[in-house]
Amino acid sequence: MLDIKKIRNDFPILSREVNNKPLIYFDNAATSQKPISVINSLTEFYSKYNSNVHRGVHTLSMESTDLFEEARNRVAKFINSKNSESIIWTRNSTEGINLVSNSWGRKNIQPGDEILVTAMEHHSNLVPWQILADINKAKLVILPINNDGTLNLDEIDTFINSKTKIVSAVHMSNSLGTINPIQELCSKAHKVGAKFMLDGAQSVPHIPTDVADIDCDFLVFSGHKMLGPTGIGVLYVKPEILEEMDPFLTGGEMVLEVSYEKAKWNELPMKFEAGTPNIADAIALGEAIVYLENIGMQNIRNHEIELTEYALSKFKSLDKLTLFGPLDPLIRGGILSFHSEDIHPHDIGTFLDHEGIAIRTGHHCTMPLIRSLNIPATSRASFYIYNTKDEIDYFINTLGNAIRYFTDVK
């Protein structure tokens, strides 16, 4: 059991009011809030150590470099990557996927090859592959889903076949909550000689992640969804693949030797980090990881299973609502996407906002998925470590009021 009261005290924004009501923040799948230790890490860095990293012989530069590389090591440990050269700083998950689809993809995908993604991918794990398929004349194949929002694996051996060169799948769907059987997808991919990329944007913040165990070739995630600041994300790449990949962005920091005619790339991971990196935010992400580790990722997962179970049971009291995604909390994250035929999600969102509750409404950057559900958008409540059952009670109650407000005929 988490000590939620103590945790909540660590998050300054949670004492804020919205429309004169205490803020209930249920938009964690979009971005998480930040504990004071992460915020302080930024203040401390800029007040004491700020300097550009690498190559400086002066004290501030050495100190910044140490803090920066320490954060990288921390990330490596957090996902159980044996070496920290596998950790490449990006802005966010999206940039990481673009890096892979450009650097690895353009070189390795041949005409006629297949790229497999699932029907529940975020645009960030769909559009870059559309572009790659288009440019390299490959075929983008979509693995379908069942009615309950789980992947349909009936014909998985047709979908992952000898033409498949990479399988890229979301671990936890940001619009359905579904947790996918990635181990199975990964080993199927490897069996046909394909690479496996994991979109961990929603999973890494909420469930323990072990790249050695999963054996994925690529993993991306975003700092801002796991208590860290905006502007910093991570791409993990297996060392042997990294060695063979060409750089993506070029310029300062990522070169070892440059003449006017040509350049020789720097060592890993710098080869993939062009220009001055987001030093302060990388260090702050390290702090976020310290915070998460202190609580324990398994404890976080357990807390969210509990909240999800509770919310699912409470949802039954509301009729006229369709809830998407699997009902077994063991294969779903703390994400509840729902729809009412009678009220547009935006109206629900606006109503809840007036009661202090922040949820997200829309297609959640999974437009093709939402379209396939034949609805314009969904309302989505998503939980994190600081959320409570009391908040869920208030949310369900307010949601009931919203339904009555918009549907009761006077």
Binding site: N19, N20, I343, H344, P345, H346, D347, T350, F351, H354, E355, T361, G362, H363, I375, P376, A377, N401, Y405, F406, T407, V409, K410
Partner: protein
């Protein structure tokens, strides 16, 4: 029920949303206005019949989507009745100005009638688009005349 929510969905808006006016298809319309906002799935379908003197004599409005889009469509379908094309343009300019700028000259504002109630939506700037959708659909069409 708190009071604050009524600052966005005031009574008139809610009434139009729950009981949309002119909610019909009409026979042989002179003008058909359609628009979608793919982001939120709002849809506008307005049909208009003109007299020989180019006066609006019949309107039909079937809109889908959020309450604000629906209410705005319904209210639009009412105020159009009996207006000339010029008058519609004029009204649009005033309405657009109310929704986007800070002040509308008082004289002009009076022409808006109960459309003024929609001003409340500005408290929720992201929803202004929903409110303007039927209007832009209409203007796009009548500009072609």
């Amino acid at each position: 029920m708190s009071n604050s929510i009524d600052q966005i969905y005031d009574e008139i808006i809610l009434d139009h949303c729950k009981n949309p006016r002119n909610n019909r298809k009409i026979h042989k319309p002179n003008i058909i206005c359609k628009a979608v906002n793919s982001f939120c799935g709002d849809e506008v379908n307005i049909e208009i019949k003109l007299s020989s003197k180019k006066i609006i004599t019949l309107t039909g409005s079937k809109s889908l989507g959020c309450a604000i889009n629906q209410a705005s469509s319904s209210m639009l379908s009412e105020v159009l009745y009996g207006k000339s094309i010029e008058e519609v343009f004029n009204l649009y300019n005033i309405f657009n100005c109310m929704m986007k700028e800070n002040t509308v000259p008082k004289k002009a504002s009076e022409q808006l009638g109960y459309l003024k109630n929609l001003k409340i939506i500005k408290k929720n700037p992201i929803r202004i688009k929903c409110c303007l959708l039927p209007w832009t659909a209409l203007i796009n069409e009548i500009e072609k005349i």
